[in-house]
Every structure is written in structure tokens, then in C-alpha cells.
């Protein structure tokens, strides 16, 4: 049952492709905004966050509309267009799924404490252009070149229990942090991803080189039957880690302008339980068959060619010791300006690091509070090759209950084939005890 649940979570994450939602950072009227900056204080003294879901997707290369043409009831898929849209240095397919069953925060004078539990499933797949160009175009167009075809798969599922504190140091300055205990459920991580094919223009000799290593914990490759997910690890299992989030908020211009900076997901998990590793290492050059054997009646034939090439990419299960996976890091730098009461204009510079590379994004926000019970906002964001992202956020407060929904990109709802990224978050809070309100 646990395996099924885990798979469903992963499966859902594969649907709801995601990046870290930007809109959430601008929704300072819900407790969940504290996830983007631990120095952010809630508006209510006590907040109980009931189950909320977040799912997101991002693809750095093409949109479905770039490669698909529908005529009548026939869908024409142009892999040629797809390959042309891919980048040589790599393309990213990223998904995130967050399930936060419960979170609690409460405020004391100039202090805010928070406690949360959540399940995170993050996947990051990076694939080179060469993988598809080789399959689509063949190697005949890349003579003399070395084509890398190795993808990397980083998928990680873990529990987290966070304990946060925000401190108002001065009237205009607050800082905060969250310490998170991480308990790994399962992961698969590409430790080395080099698989290359070189076609020599001399007479098209093929050289294949592999240095590929995939690590896993809680996942077993079931001898050709596929991947077998292990059971959900106990909350306090052997795969543990820590992470820390840090943030600061500064207000100026009579508190109409709020500047925020935060660094999130500084941490890692050490995987020590139910470890598996698979690797392929080697180099092989194929120069064709020996024609002497072919001309002899009992010699080899071309059927052996396939077997020979398969040997190069043979994946062997090997042993491994414990390994560590990093959460990466997320960076927020923003400013929210409230020119008049209830209108909040914001700008955000966001960055996400992965395997030594930084993936930036930029967002502009406009949110209007309609009294105490309703707020709505729009967010325009842009990131690499995705420049037309228009998001929206809604909050409805009925009594002490907040309902909220937000997305960074509305367009996929109306034009699903023409999007590179989509995410959404929905949730429910019980928030009582409104504190003295600041301007924003």
C-alpha cells in the first residue's frame, strides 16, 4: 500500500510539472508565504495550516505546441522541430510535488514560531540534445563529433519536519530561520552521466564510451521488470539529513516598501538504507566485421553486430556505500511596495541552483486586498525560454478559515499545448487572532 501511495505521488508529480512557485512569495496574507522567507510574519497570531498541495512542472526546451500539429483527428508530431529546439548543453525537465498535511504557527511579541510537516517529491531530469538528435537524425550527420547521450535522473522523496522562528529585531527589521529535519523516503541520483558516441569519418568506426553511475535508495531495479519502489520509510528511518532556511525582511518608506531576502534548502540527505547502484563503464570501438569470417561459410554474420554494441552499454548492478544528495538551494530577493492601502506591487528576483548551475527567474506582482475576506493578484514571471507566464492568486477568508489557490501560469489552463511551465497550489488555513497590521 505504501509503495502504491509513493508511486501515486511520484506519478502525480510527473503530471504536475513544477518549479518553486513565485506567486506564493507575494501572498503575505497567508502563512504559507513563510515557506519562501522564514522571516515573514503572519497576520494572525495563531495559524493552523490544513492539508495543502503544490505541484509544478518546468521544461526548459520546447512546448508541445512546438512539435505537435493537429489536423482534424490526426496529431502530427515533428521530432525534427523538437530536436531543433533542444540545447546542446542540456535540457531540463523538472517536477515538484509538495504535500503539507499540517503546519502550525503562533506568535509571541516580536517572535513567531512555526512547526510544519510535509512530504516533498522533487525530480530533475536533464537530458542532452544528442540523445534525441542521435535517435532522430542518426549519427551520419555528426561525423567526427562526439555526441553525449547520457541523461541524468535525480528524483528524491522525503519527509520534512521544520521548526521555524522569526524575530523582529527592530520595528523595521526582522530575521528568521527554519531548521528542517529530513527523512529520506527514496531517491535515485545520477552520480556520473557520461555516455558518448563518436563516429569517425574515416570509415564510420563507432567508439562508445560510458561512465554512468546511478545510485538509489529505497528503489530496486527488478531485473528487467522495471523499478520496484521500496516501502515508505518510517519517519525516522536511516536516511536522514538537515536543511536550513534563512531570511530577512526590512521595511522602509514608512513601511510601505518591504525588502526581503532569503536562502532556502541549504542542506542534504545522507542515504544509508536499501542502497543500490548501477553503472556502466567502458570504451569500445567497433570497426565492422572481419570479412574473412563472413566469406567463410561458417563465419560470423551481421547479427553479432547488435550483440557487440549491446556489450558497451551493459549496465551492471554494483555495490555502493552511503551517499549524500543536496537539496540544491533557492534564493529570493524581492521588494513589495504598497502605494495605497490594499494594493501591493512587487518584484522578485529568484534563483535556483542545481548541480553547480544557477537557474534564475524574475517576477512582477500586483495584488489587491478587498477588505479582510478576499484578495486577488496577478503575477507576471519569466525564466529561461519562458517569457509569457501570467499567474494569479486568490484568497478567500470565511470566518477564521482561509481558502487559497495560486498558480504562476494561467495560460496552460486555456492552451495546454503552449506551455513550458505550470504549477498550482491550493490549501486551507485556520487563522485566528489577527495581530496589529503592518502596512504590508
Amino acid at each position: 500500500m505504501q509503495r502504491y501511495i509513493l508511486f501515486v505521488l511520484l506519478f502525480v508529480s510527473s503530471l504536475g510539472f513544477a518549479q518553486q512557485d513565485l506567486s506564493l512569495h507575494f501572498m503575505h496574507n497567508i502563512a504559507q508565504s513563510n515557506f519562501t522567507n522564514p522571516s515573514s510574519f503572519n497576520r494572525y497570531k495563531v495559524n493552523v495550516s490544513l492539508p495543502s498541495f503544490y505541484s509544478g512542472f518546468y521544461h526548459s526546451a520546447f512546448t508541445p505546441a512546438d512539435v505537435v500539429d493537429i489536423q482534424g483527428t490526426t496529431m502530427f508530431v515533428s521530432l525534427d522541430d523538437m530536436v531543433n529546439q533542444l540545447k546542446e548543453e542540456g535540457n531540463i525537465l523538472q517536477t515538484n510535488l509538495h504535500f503539507d498535511p499540517i503546519a502550525i504557527s503562533f506568535m509571541l511579541p516580536k517572535l513567531q514560531f512555526s512547526l510544519n510537516y510535509g512530504v516533498r517529491v522533487n525530480s530533475h531530469i536533464q537530458y542532452p540534445k544528442g540523445l534525441f538528435s542521435l535517435l532522430w537524425e542518426g549519427n551520419g550527420t555528426n561525423l567526427g563529433e562526439t555526441i553525449n547521450i547520457a541523461p541524468s535522473f535525480d528524483i528524491m522523496a522525503f519527509h520534512e519536519i521544520g521548526l521555524g522562528v522569526a524575530v523582529e529585531i527592530q520595528e523595521n527589521l526582522s530575521v528568521g530561520g527554519r531548521l528542517r529535519y529530513l527523512s529520506g523516503i527514496a531517491t535515485t541520483y545520477t552520480d556520473a552521466s557520461e555516455v558518448s558516441i563518436h563516429t569517425n569519418p574515416e570509415f564510420y568506426q563507432l567508439t562508445a564510451t560510458t561512465n554512468y553511475r546511478q545510485l538509489a535508495s529505497g528503489i530496486t531495479y527488478d531485473n528487467g521488470n522495471g523499478v520496484d519502489f521500496g516501502g515508505l520509510s518510517a519517519l525516522f528511518g536511516s536516511n536522514t539529513g538537515m536543511a536550513i532556511d534563512l531570511g530577512a525582511t526590512y521595511r522602509l518608506l514608512d513601511q510601505k516598501l518591504k525588502l526581503q531576502a532569503s536562502i532556502l534548502d541549504l542542506g542534504a540527505i545522507t542515504w544509508d538504507d536499501n542502497l543500490n547502484a548501477w553503472e556502466s563503464q567502458g570504451s569500445f570501438t567497433f570497426e565492422g566485421l572481419d570479412l574473412k569470417d563472413v566469406l567463410e561459410e561458417d563465419g560470423e554474420d551481421f547479427e553479432n553486430l547488435g550483440d557487440t554494441l549491446q556489450q558497451v552499454f551493459n549496465i551492471e548492478e554494483v555495490s555502493t556505500s552511503s551517499f549524500k544528495t543536496s537539496l540544491g538551494g533557492k534564493y529570493y530577493l524581492s521588494g513589495i511596495f504598497t502605494p495605497v492601502k490594499g494594493l501591493h506591487l512587487g518584484a522578485l528576483l529568484y534563483g535556483e541552483s542545481y548541480r553547480g548551475s544557477l537557474y534564475p527567474a524574475f517576477a512582477l506582482s500586483a495584488k489587491k486586498d478587498l477588505g479582510k475576506i478576499f484578495s486577488a493578484g496577478l503575477v507576471y514571471s519569466m525564466r529561461e525560454k519562458a517569457f509569457t507566464n501570467l499567474g494569479a492568486n486568490l484568497m478567500l477568508r470565511l470566518g477564521g478559515v482561509q481558502l487559497f489557490a495560486l498558480t504562476d501560469n494561467l495560460i496552460p489552463i486555456f492552451n495546454p499545448l503552449n506551455t513550458q511551465n505550470f504549477n498550482f497550489r491550493v490549501g486551507l488555513n485556520v487563522a485566528v487572532g489577527k495581530k496589529e497590521k503592518k502596512v504590508n
Binding site: T74, L79, F203
Partner: protein, 506 residues
């Protein structure tokens, strides 16, 4: 199982998702898919020895002290055993008196023998007893020996009461020797009446030798002919050659004869012919036409073999001319004559297992020239594999350490051998001779690079092909005007790759 379920669920949900967002889709097609693949076909180094072993299965390959290659084709014929050729007939010698001295030449053996070692047969002494009583008879043949001692046979006769009693005495001759070296055969008997010991004569007495087999005979055996079985040697080197002209500088025919007959023997070629591709049957001329005497063991070398080697080369035969016409079979028919001059003074010997054998060998040192040498080979090919290919392009690189130039053509044929198409418009040079030094040795390899396009129309043309006939036309360096030598370290390398554009499956 779990993975299968997961895949089905995933596929189903994707379908559901897209169906929720899209209009109904009945068909999904890939467009513009026509990849170009490049693969190596072969990188083969073929030594001259590899080539010879594949095209010369009937012979052997050797090298001389300079590593010059030689092809050897050999065959053997053997004569009958002595005992099968020369038999001693049954002999009967009447004894009119009690003793007889007979010249050995008068013994009706058919040969003037001086010694016979018997392996089998019977000595018979027949007579009639007309004396109406028991007799005691003793028979002595002085020249009949057992372990070097003359044999005397004592024969008691019991009278049967008849007026004329026929007596037949027989004894085994195995391991006995008849020594006629004195020139005479002396036979005597002593018959006595048992009652009175009176010496009497025997009526109708005779000595006979029957069913004689020998282990050894010595003497003058006359002039005897041997017909050796017709035999042949296959020369595979030219089996796959068509329309070729190749001249070997130093072909050699060796005839090696081993002889254990103790008499002079002369061998003669009744027929020594070559079957050639170009000129049909051609006669090989040599001294064997008139007969050649070969060595034989002397009386002191009984049981030994005497060897004779006869060599024929370009200077004393027409073998070089024969070889240039691509023979694929050498036929030889020999006969031999013992004591060909029929000299009665020659005393020889035969053992029952005496024989002579003739080893016939053709040696072809690979020192040759050729202005045209064509080889063909047919390999199976299924042209239907071309159905997936839109266009193709072969790349061929050769590196040649042999002193030959070669053109190549590929004929794509159906199951009946009908040519559907060819790889080249005309036979195309693929091998260039290596550079030679003053001694004719290759000192630098020749190389070629060839790009061979196959158009879509040609691919369609040869798609029904079931076989490929590969025809190579080879000339030695300098257009076949100079003889070249092939050494065991010579080789050529060819590399071939294929670049093919696959068809769009849609």
C-alpha cells in the same frame, strides 16, 4: 508486474489529461523522420596466406628460406605387391627312375629362380604300388631345406591288396626353402619291400608343387609390366578464376619413387595431361615420356626401399606454359616395366610385399606475373534489407602491401544468376600495387580511398537480389610485365563503411 501497472496507469492518465484538453485524436504520426546512419562494415586485413588458404584448399603452402611462398599439390600412386604380380604356378616333375638331376632352368616355374622361400603350398609325391606288399619309401630333395638342412621324407606304404595301389604323399612347404643356387634340382627316392628289404622301383612316380605362395624369390624373373592406376591432382588456385593469364617463373614437377623390388624398373608416362580453363586438355612433355629407370635395392638390401627423385622444371618441360593456361586438374597415367631390357644376367629378388610407389608433386613458387587474373566469388545476399533505405553511400579505404593492382565489381543477381545491377558502372580500381625495390620486394604500400554512392533507383533495382557475385581482376605490378614475388608477410587491408538514409516509415 508493478512496473507494467505503473506504465499503464501513466499512459492512461496522460491520455486522459490530453483528452481533457484536446479534441479527439484518432491517429498520431511522426513527420519528417528520415535518419542518416553511419556504420562500419569491415576492417579486414587479408594476408596473402589467408587468400591462398581460402582459394587453395587442395594443396599446401610452404615458404623457402627467404619467406617466398610456394604452393604444393601432391598425389601418390602405388603398384601392386610383388606376390600379386608374380605367381609361381603348380609344377609336376615325373620320376622315371629313383633319382633325377634336373637343371634349375628346366623347372617349369616360368622364371629361372635360384631361391624360393615358401610361405605356403604343398609338396606332393605320387606313385603306384605294384608290388603287392607293404613298402618303405624315403624321398629326398637335396635342394629343399628346412632351417638349412636337406629334408628326407620317410613314407610307409601299407598295401591295400590291389594290384596297383595309387599313393599320394603331400607335405606343407611353409617356411621351407628351395635353394637352386647350384643350378640343379636333385630328387631321389629309395623304395624297399617291407618283407625282404629289396629295393624296388615305383611305378608312375612324380614330384609336384601345388598352390605355391612365397615369401621371397630370387633369380631371373624376366620382363614384367606394371600398370599403375590413373590418378589426378586438383589445383584449387585456379578454381574460381575466369579468363586468367598467369605465368609462373619456376614451376616444378617432382616425381619421387620408392622401390622395394630387387630388380631394375623403368617408369614411363602413358599420359601426363593438364585440364585447363583456357585451352582444355594440354599434354605435359617430359623425360617420362620415354621412360626413366629408377633405383632398386640390391641383394644385400633385401627389405629396403631405394629412392629416386626426378625433377622437371621450365627448362626440361613445358610446365610453365601449361600453368599459364590455369590448369585445375593434372592427370597422370604411369606404367612400369621390371627388367626392361630383359637381361637374363640380372639376378634380382622379390618379396611378397615388394612394391613401388610414385609421389607426384607440383610446386608453384609464387614468383609470377599476370596481366589478367580474375577471381569470382558468390555470397548470399538478401536484398529485401534495402527496403528501409532511401539512399546509401559506401566508403572504401584500401592499403595494399601486395605487388598487384586490382579492380572490383559487384554484381547483384537474382536466384537464377540474372544480373539486376552493379555497384560500379565499370570495374573500379580498389587496390594499387605497393612500391617495389630493385629486387621486386614491396617497400611501400599503395593506398586508395573510394566514395561509392548508391542512388535510390539502384537500390530499387537490386532489391530482389539473392546473391552478390564479386569479381576481382588482378594484374601484377607494371601491368603484368614484370614478374613479382609474394612473400609470407605480404598483406592488404580494406576498410568499408556505410552511410544510409532510412526511409520515412510514413
Amino acid at each position: 508486474m508493478r512496473q507494467t501497472i505503473a506504465q499503464v496507469v501513466l499512459a492512461g492518465c496522460l491520455i486522459v489529461l490530453f483528452n481533457a484538453c484536446l479534441q479527439d485524436i484518432d491517429d498520431v504520426q511522426l513527420t519528417d523522420w528520415s535518419p542518416e546512419i553511419a556504420i562500419p562494415i569491415t576492417n579486414t586485413t587479408y594476408s596473402i596466406q589467408d587468400f591462398l588458404e581460402n582459394n587453395n584448399s587442395g594443396g599446401s603452402i610452404t615458404t623457402d628460406e627467404d619467406n617466398l611462398l610456394k604452393l604444393i599439390h601432391a598425389g601418390r600412386v602405388s603398384s601392386l605387391n610383388g606376390a600379386d604380380k608374380i605367381q609361381i604356378p603348380d609344377v609336376s616333375i615325373p620320376l622315371p627312375n629313383s633319382s633325377l638331376d634336373l637343371s634349375s632352368s628346366m623347372i617349369p616355374f616360368g622364371y629361372d629362380l635360384t631361391k624360393v622361400d615358401f610361405k605356403g603350398g604343398e609338396l606332393r609325391f605320387a606313385f603306384d604300388n605294384i608290388h603287392n606288399e607293404d613298402l618303405m619309401v624315403s624321398l629326398q630333395i637335396n635342394e629343399l631345406m628346412d632351417n638349412g638342412m636337406s629334408i628326407t621324407y620317410n613314407i610307409p606304404v601299407s598295401w591295400d591288396g590291389s594290384a596297383s595301389q595309387t599313393i599320394m604323399f603331400s607335405t606343407d612347404l611353409m617356411d621351407k626353402t628351395l635353394d637352386l643356387s647350384g643350378g640343379n634340382l636333385s630328387i631321389s627316392y629309395d623304395a624297399r619291400l617291407s618283407s625282404t628289404n629289396q629295393s624296388v622301383l615305383l611305378d608312375k612316380a612324380s614330384i609336384g608343387l601345388k598352390d605355391i605362395s612365397y615369401r621371397y624369390i630370387q633369380g631371373y624373373i624376366g620382363n614384367i609390366s606394371f600398370d599403375l592406376p590413373l590418378d589426378s591432382i586438383a589445383i584449387d588456385l585456379f578454381e574460381n578464376s575466369v579468363g586468367s593469364s598467369i605465368y609462373f617463373e619456376d614451376p616444378i614437377i617432382r616425381t619421387s619413387i620408392s622401390n622395394s623390388f630387387g630388380v631394375p624398373v623403368r617408369i614411363q608416362a602413358n599420359a601426363l595431361n593438364a585440364m585447363t580453363h583456357e585451352s582444355g586438355i594440354m599434354a605435359i612433355t617430359s623425360d617420362l615420356d620415354d621412360g626413366v629407370d629408377f633405383n632398386y635395392p640390391t641383394l644385400s638390401e633385401v627389405g629396403d626401399y631405394a629412392s629416386t627423385m626426378i625433377e622437371f622444371n621450365a627448362s626440361n618441360t613445358n610446365i610453365a606454359t601449361i600453368i599459364s593456361d590455369n590448369p585445375y586438374l593434372l592427370l597422370y597415367d604411369f606404367s612400369a616395366t621390371a627388367n626392361p631390357e630383359n637381361d637374363p644376367n640380372i639376378e634380382g629378388f622379390l618379396m611378397d610385399d615388394s612394391r613401388f610407389s610414385v609421389d607426384f608433386e607440383l610446386e608453384l613458387p609464387l614468383w609470377l606475373r599476370s596481366d589478367i587474373f580474375t577471381l569470382e566469388n558468390v555470397v548470399e545476399f538478401d536484398g529485401s534489407i534495402l527496403d528501409e533505405i532511401e539512399a546509401a553511400h559506401f566508403k572504401l579505404n584500401t592499403n595494399n602491401g601486395l605487388p598487384i593492382d586490382a579492380d572490383l565489381q559487384f554484381f547483384f543477381e537474382d536466384e537464377n544468376g540474372v544480373v539486376l545491377g552493379t555497384l560500379f558502372d565499370t570495374p573500379t580500381p580498389i587496390l594499387s600495387s605497393g612500391e617495389l625495390d630493385a629486387d621486386g620486394r614491396v617497400i611501400s604500400n599503395g593506398s586508395n580511398e573510394l566514395d561509392i554512392p548508391l542512388s535510390n533507383s539502384l537500390l530499387q533495382q537490386i532489391m530482389p537480389a539473392k546473391q552478390i557475385r564479386i569479381a576481382a581482376s588482378i594484374v601484377t605490378a607494371d601491368m603484368g610485365t614484370t614478374s613479382v614475388k609474394f612473400y609470407s608477410d605480404y598483406a592488404f587491408n580494406f576498410q568499408m563503411g556505410l552511410k544510409a538514409t532510412l526511409k520515412n516509415p510514413n
